[in-house]
Amino acid sequence: MSQGLVARDVVMRFGGVLALDGAAIEVVPGRIVGLIGRNGSGKSTMFNCITGFVRPTEGRIDLDGAPITGLPPHRVVRAGIARTFQTPRVDLRATVREAVLCGCYPLGRCGFVSAFLGLTSAVREEIRLREQADGVLRQVNLAPLGDQQIGKLAMGQVRLVEVARGIAAGARYLLLDEPAAGLTQSERNMLADAIRVVAKSGVGVLLVEHNFAFVRALCETITVLEAGRVLAVGTADEIAADHRVIESYLGSEPAALVEPA
């Protein structure tokens, strides 16, 4: 059984629009992979195909050797692929612990009936889920903020909560949709550290991002999409030096490369 999250020959047609035209990507456990491209290059569509939010017209997506193409999105999550959203989708009145607890949902084994009957097994499970949530909070250094309302946090911390919620159920792969957007420099650094910690624990991370400096600092390999096709794959330095990438994505403005991570 081959390890990794592998998407191959993915084609996605929305009516007459060809959003993906044979795109491919591979994420391995413990590594951080970047997916970049201009607006409309198909990054988000690829993201949505992998997470099951849209069903690809053609192509194949395998999770550790087993096909997950076309599974409904909640089953993809249960198979071990977590995602975050570009705009954090959170209840601002909930506390950090409650939010992460929501991410523990797939770990529950007790059924709906034992839950409303209040059986001992359901009560015990709730205690177990709370312990799990607290463990995840410690992992990403959010434990001191556990009782804070999310609405009172800074954007960088909210993104961290989203990451914690995503991996709370023990996901083996984490897909991040533009996590650095709108963050300050110090928040970006904090988030980058947390992503490294998550990857180090054996989770494969796919980073869809606009900020090339952020991707370059974090990712070992980067895939560049252009018009739904893979334009280039390589290490961060190779990509930064690739003239096709510079023309297509980074444009004629080399300043994008020098922007600090």
């Binding site: 997470t51 939010f53 409904p72 999105p73 909640h74 999550v77 249960r78 977590a82 995602r83 975050t84 959203f85 989708r89 959170v90 209840d91 009145r93 909930a94 409650e98 607890l101 929501c102 991410g103 523990c104 949902y105 797939p106 529950g108 007790c110 709906f112 839950a115 409303f116 009957l117 209040g118 359901a122 009560v123 499970e125 709730e126 889920l129 919620r165 995503g166 159920a169």
Partner: protein
């Protein structure tokens, strides 16, 4: 005990209901009203769960009560079953139908759900009116065996016991991952899916539990009043329990119960039945202006249930 500290709503309900029962027991007319209020509260609780937590605006909860009531009436009157034997059927049948209905409607937009459930309750009423040899048609079913005949205080105890069990089930659910899941679904379905929740399945389960509560309310109605006609429960009840929920506070577990008590008591003080609609409409406007989260929203923080 931490178990009961987390389930304070059930204890509050039992305490208040015991107190109310002790007061109402002095006057048969008030005891009669108290029983009717508890039955309404049980149906109102079911909209609290479907709308207040799951976010599905259902206008069919009165019809689920009617199905529960007709089920027990038919089984006891036509087939000679014991009311106690009919009770599980009167709960399970609405639950099963509710589960199926939720599968169909929860994909729709909220307003469409309200219209679809309203249409369904109109259809159920037509069936009840037309199926003469089963439901008694327009005339209805009379002679439904009473439970605790001549002992209204015992019946009150039974009704409160069933309401307390429903509140406890609701409370248990909200303390579990499923309760958190329902809250997430109400706010943001894509978020719920990303949490790994099978949204249609969870909504259907919650809807079935709510329909079971309404069915239990119908069973109580049938065996207290001993007579059932197509107008007894149904659309009118569906709308008034929605109002009770809004008045008491949809997000609070005991909100619909509080609303049922307040509107039930105030309705007795009105000079005539005809002004009830005017009164209900006025109450709704006042509540929406003064306390958008319902009366319990004034005294309890949301989330503390």
């Amino acid at each position: 005990m931490t178990y009961w500290r987390a389930r304070s709503n059930t204890l509050v309900l039992l305490a208040c209901a015991t107190l109310a029962g002790a007061v109402a027991a002095r006057d048969p007319a008030w005891l009669d009203i108290a029983i009717a209020i508890v039955i309404n509260a049980l149906v109102a609780l079911s909209v609290g769960l479907t709308f207040g937590q799951a976010g599905i605006l259902s206008a069919a909860q009165g019809s689920f009560a009617a199905i529960g009531a007709y089920t027990t009436a038919i089984l006891t009157v036509r087939l000679g079953w014991s009311p106690w034997l009919a009770l599980p059927v009167a709960i399970a049948l609405p639950a099963g139908l509710g589960h199926g209905l939720a599968r169909l409607v929860t994909r729709l937009a909220p307003l469409a759900v309200a219209l679809a459930t309203l249409t369904l309750s109109a259809i159920i009423e037509i069936v009840l009116r037309s199926w003469d040899n089963l439901t008694g048609g327009y005339v209805g079913l009379a002679g439904i065996p009473s439970v605790f005949a001549g002992q209204p205080i015992a019946f009150y105890g039974l009704a409160v016991g069933m309401l307390a069990l429903a509140v406890l089930a609701y409370e248990n659910l909200m303390l579990s991952r499923f309760g958190r899941g329902l809250t997430t679904i109400r706010g943001d379905r894509a978020r719920a899916i990303a949490d790994g929740i099978a949204v249609p399945g969870l909504l259907s389960a919650a809807f079935a539990l709510a329909a079971a509560m309404a069915g239990a309310g119908g069973w109580l109605y049938a065996h207290y009043f001993s007579y059932l006609s197509p107008g007894s429960l149904g659309t009118e009840l569906s709308i008034s329990v929605l109002l009770m929920m809004v008045v008491g506070g949809a997000r609070h577990i005991l909100g619909p119960v509080a609303g049922a008590v307040i509107l039930g008591v105030l309705a007795q003080l009105l000079p005539a039945q005809e002004v009830q609609g005017l009164f209900y409409g006025g109450a709704l406007i006042v509540i929406l202006l003064v306390a958008r989260n319902g009366l319990l929203g004034l005294v309890r923080r949301e989330g503390t249930l």
